[in-house]
Amino acid sequence: MSNLLTKVARQLGAGGAALVLVACFLPWATYSGFPGKMRAVTPGGARLYVMILALFGVLFLLSAPGRARALRGTSACTLTIAVLTAVFISYAGGGAGGLGIGAILAVVGGLAYLAAAWSLPADDRPAPIRVLPDRSWRTTVETLLVVAAAAAALIAFVIGLGIPTATIASGEDHLLLGAISFNDLTNESQFLSFLIFLGGASLALSRLGLVASLGALTKKHAKVMVAASLMAAVVFPFTQGGDGYSLRIAASIGVFAAAAIGLNIVVGLAGLLDLGYIAFFGVGAYFAALVSGSINSVVPVHLPFALTIVLAALVSGLFGVLLGAPTLRLRGDYLAIVTLGFGEIFRITVNNLDGSAGPSLTNGPNGISNIPDLTLPGGFSFGDNHVLFGINLPFQANYYWLEVVLVAVVMTAFLRLAESRIGRAWVAIREDEVAAAATGINTTRLKLLAFGLGAVLAGAAGSVNAHVVKIAAPDSFTFLESALLLAAVILGGMGTVHGALLGATVLYLLPEKLRFMQDLRLLVFGLVLVLIMRLRPEGLLPSKRRAREFHEPGGGGDALSAPPGRASA
């Protein structure tokens, strides 16, 4: 009986998914004024995404009987994109009459697909890690696969960033949703569709074990992976056709990511909850601004940038050690509130050192602006536009590449540390401080080292950022910024570099791209944070150890994941 049901459900689901596939080749809009390709027969944009997700359905419902559960999330994403696009079309095209036959069929087929995926029996076996057969061509193919993965990541990033949203299209915020033209609206729907598509596709791939297999491959060919990712990051400006705005966003993501990785040393490795990390970033930024030769700076010196970045990192590290030395013996949340307090003291101090409420140093709430463009000894100015290989490179590309170098340095520092004796000692402290001390680890000194190193990296990132945004002002160093950095670390998955990178990208890009929601975007942002934590409390890309701990029946046992009531009893 249940066998029959399963069979029916599978047929129904495959049929539904196939219907969606067919629908993708039919026009989705009849409204004649509707811009974009929704009236055409060939799929593009959102229809392409729906098509790919539906293809997963047809293939796996028919060929891999036990794996239907892998499609639960994917089918939900398929239906969501179809419905979302239909809503946008009817909104722009004056009611449901604007919908074409394709859109209606896609929604109907999507419903069947979803119903089937959810009614099929669950299969909780972990997907196997796939390995290529041991042939002479294996290494070549594996290398190619790794390079392809880096390229795919770059392409996904370029597409996501490249879909013009209201802000990019017009260069300014709209006052009301109604002020956005139909054209913008299709862009917004396309960006949302793309996001949902990425989510659906990665769900399917990870449930099928392909993500884990790829992870194993990149680990095996780590050098190729590093080279390929670096290459992808370096060529990114060439894909932008001279668009400075997107490069600026990418550079800002870089700064944010560098700071998040630094924080990851403190929180993810050593397990010290720091709620005022942005203050160390701010120390670096203010130091760099003061010695940058800006006309708003009260310090009449202009140090070369290489010296600035080193000094900024050292000064910031000094603050870290000064704050850490007396306070690191505090436990968990007490340390958190002390760092929060330090962050607030920093913000208030730089806000007040304007000559009237305190000594004149930081130009108060206005901050130190007019930071001049960086120049290299050879006379190269970061403020110049360039043309390379016939492609326009606006000046933002120079700063972008500077960010790539910064992120690369911070990532290297993190990875080398994590694998070292020191890094293992940090993890031991995080897991159980008493046991770590008992094995002969000098916990106080190592905790101080983590805190100080985190501050050094933040200081370096801050000094670079001051030159990228050309201003250091107190508004950029609020508690909310610290909280967002921490959110990036936790969202991505604590204790990993790629997790922090992904978390930083998502947290920076999402509010930036949700601008069309105007006033509602922060509301949506807050709710999305809650939603992601509910769906994946261990983060989007957790370290293997954490993921395993988290799925053990007994739960994890480290200081940051103790079940309620256990932590300090």
């Binding site: 949340d333 305190g358 942002f525 807050g526 809650v530």
Partner: protein
């Protein structure tokens, strides 16, 4: 000397507000070890709940009737929101890494602020709050030291609230169940205590006190703002830590200490670091100093290292 006593009174009034909110932090933390960052927003919602109640009352309702009604309204809004928060943002994450609920708390804090800003009528900037108690009416406390009527009411209500809560936790059956759950949730469960219900109770009590603080804040300053919960929330949490988090008397003591430090620093700190611009910085400096010398707060017990 009068100036000193005047500042003492001002500090106690400010501290009473911090203490009321800090109680909510400390109860929740004591039981589930969660920093409920959205608690400041519960305080803010209390202010708006009272305002809504006032606006629905017929014009000309005497203050003696309106004020209790507003307090009730504020509590209903705050408590409802706190229960929803616990149910949908915290409870599902109870077995998760401890930082996960911190992020949902943060997300809810942002979301609640934005909810009020976008959907409460005309709340994009501060909204006027009815001045039911004349702020210009001042009582003399000897010499030139005075206290305004709303401040006096704040202190009285705060003290009543704190005493009631202490009695409740010490004497009542539910209160003792809360203590047991805070000490050891597993054993408490074995003793037949419905720990889920106890956790909700902690949220409800905290929210009710925060709602009272929200109304008092509105009465004293004549306005409520969607942003008002954020900084006060952080400082109230600071007060809870200062007093020793998890300790109810500690939260009250921490609140008064923080209030006094802020007010006194504004007056007596060495130039140029005196004045309102530096008061928050002083509050945190004192926090750091206290924690360096008493790592578990003023009244906190020295927590034994985890075995």
């Amino acid at each position: 000397m009068d100036l000193f006593f005047q500042q003492l009174v001002n500090g106690l009034v400010l501290g009473a507000t911090y203490g009321l909110i800090a109680l909510g932090y400390t109860m929740v933390y004591g039981i589930v070890q969660l920093i409920n960052f959205a608690h400041g927003e519960i305080f803010m919602l209390g202010g708006f709940g009272a305002l809504t109640t006032y606006l629905t009352l017929p014009a000309g309702t005497p203050a003696a009737v309106a004020l209790p009604m507003m307090l009730m309204g504020a509590m209903v809004v705050s408590v409802t929101m706190a229960v929803l928060l616990e149910r949908f943002a915290y409870r599902p994450l109870r077995g998760a890494p401890r930082l996960a609920p911190l992020i949902t708390a943060l997300g809810m804090s942002i979301a609640l602020q934005e909810l009020v800003r976008n959907f409460y009528p005309e709340a994009k900037s501060a909204r006027n709050f009815p001045q039911l108690i004349d702020p210009d009416k001042r009582f003399s406390l000897g010499g030139s030291v005075t206290i305004s009527a709303p401040s006096l009411v704040t202190i009285v209500i705060a003290v009543v609230g704190m005493v009631t809560l202490t009695l409740f936790v010490r004497r009542s059956r539910t209160g003792r169940a809360m203590q047991a759950t805070a000490q050891d949730p597993d054993t408490a469960r074995l003793m037949g205590i419905d720990t889920d219900r106890i956790i909700v109770t902690a949220f409800v009590l905290g929210a009710a006190l925060a709602a009272v603080a929200g109304v008092m804040h509105g009465l004293r300053f004549g306005q409520v703002d969607f942003r008002m919960g954020f900084l006060i929330g952080i400082k109230a949490f600071t007060a809870a830590v200062l007093g020793g988090i998890g300790n109810i008397s500690g939260a009250v003591l921490g609140g008064f200490t923080l209030g006094l430090v802020e007010v006194m620093a504004t007056q007596y700190a060495p130039e140029p670091f005196a004045g309102g611009a530096w008061k928050d910085a002083w509050a945190f400096v004192v926090l750091i100093i206290v924690l360096v010398f008493r790592p578990s707060g003023i009244l906190g017990e020295r927590v034994a290292a985890r075995a």
